[in-house]
């Protein structure tokens, strides 16, 4: 009997990541989630690992454990941090922290996942970008730059990994009611929403719907794409 699909989700402690962990466990996947902090919840067929996604040794250790499961089907690279600050008032180490988590962390997970996925010539990687890129949001220079880098990473990896049966796509989940947008004032939120074709918050189910499509076995020819919810 074929073992159940294995899905790795970064930033799984709360928000979109936690919702997706639950969603894919319900679909019969074995889910490995990670975050810097510990979780106060548990799920059957779910294992949580505490780590910083930008720490290379910890990431390699995690994937050594995943290797013992015999397969890796999906990587959902959801971990990310935001920063709302004018560029003239942004400390350099805040920028480094954002780049470390959003770009370096994303890269390390893609690299380690691809090494496992290529053995079965099958894999689906979904990275998280942001509407801050096409909207060029003021006050989010470092965050938008990091998420633009995620799009470039996605596009190049799609080409590098395509012939190995691995697709790499990105989703910009739009504005979803999570901690990430808690720093936005009501006024700023309205302004940002007004720049979307569908000016409302996205639901977690809508985010999961797009990821379901991207990781489906039938989506083997969909790669190198960035899908922006809400139409920014």
């Amino acid at each position: 009997m074929e073992s159940q699909p294995v899905t790795v989700i970064t930033g799984a402690r709360k928000g979109i990541g936690r919702f997706l962990a639950n969603h894919y466990v319900e679909q019969g996947h074995t889910v490995i989630g990670c975050s810097r902090g510990d979780i106060d919840w548990s799920l059957e067929n779910y294992e949580h690992v505490q780590l910083d996604v930008a720490e290379e040794d910890s990431v390699r250790e995690l994937f050594r454990r995943i290797r013992s499961l015999g397969r890796l089907d999906h990587l959902i690279n959801n971990a990310g941090i935001a920063l709302l600050n004018h560029s003239m008032l942004t400390p350099g180490n805040s920028v480094s922290r954002i780049l470390d988590t959003n770009v370096l962390g994303g890269f390390l997970f893609c690299r380690e996942a691809a090494r496992l996925m290529q053995r079965r010539r099958f894999g689906r990687i979904v990275n998280f970008t942001s509407a801050a890129v096409p909207l060029k949001l003021e006050g989010e220079a470092a965050y938008a730059a990091s998420k633009a880098a995620v799009v470039s990473l996605t596009e190049v990896l799609a080409r590098e990994l395509g012939s190995l049966g691995i697709t790499v796509n990105a989703i910009a989940p739009g504005l979803v009611s999570t901690d990430l947008i808690r720093g936005l004032s009501e006024e700023k939120l309205e302004q940002v929403l007004a720049r979307h074709a569908i000016p409302r918050l996205a639901t977690l189910e809508e985010v999961a719907g797009v990821i379901d499509f991207l990781i489906a076995p039938e989506s083997g020819i969909v790669t190198g794409q960035a899908i922006y919810l809400g139409g920014p």
Binding site: R60, R64, R115, Q118, S163, L164
Partner: protein, 98 residues
């Protein structure tokens, strides 16, 4: 007893079986000699085959030695004489890393 990995042992026991697999993948015969080029002019490996070959070598090393060795590091990349020139230089490089 700890296994002593010499260049010859790495070449014969680790690299040659994996080159056999690459031959199937690239559908070309590859000479199992230490002078056989891995990258650059005269290599039978296409660029993707080199990458998947090196990943397979690392995995086999992990299986045989229990060590998570990465063959490509900054020192290897900046070295004037690349350790990835031929199967023989790769075998020497592996012994150095072990």
């Amino acid at each position: 007893m700890t296994t002593v990995w010499t260049s010859e042992k790495v070449f014969e026991e680790l690299l040659v079986p994996l080159v056999d697999e690459v031959e199937e993948e690239v559908e070309k015969e590859i000479a199992k000699e230490s002078e056989t080029p891995l990258v650059g002019e005269g290599s039978a490996f296409d660029s993707l085959a080199v990458v998947t070959f090196l990943v397979a070598v690392e995995e086999q090393l992990a299986a045989e030695t229990g060590r998570d060795v990465r063959l490509v590091d900054e020192r290897a990349m900046s070295s004037r004489a690349s350790p990835f020139r031929t199967l023989g230089t790769l075998a020497d490089h592996i012994v150095e890393m072990l």
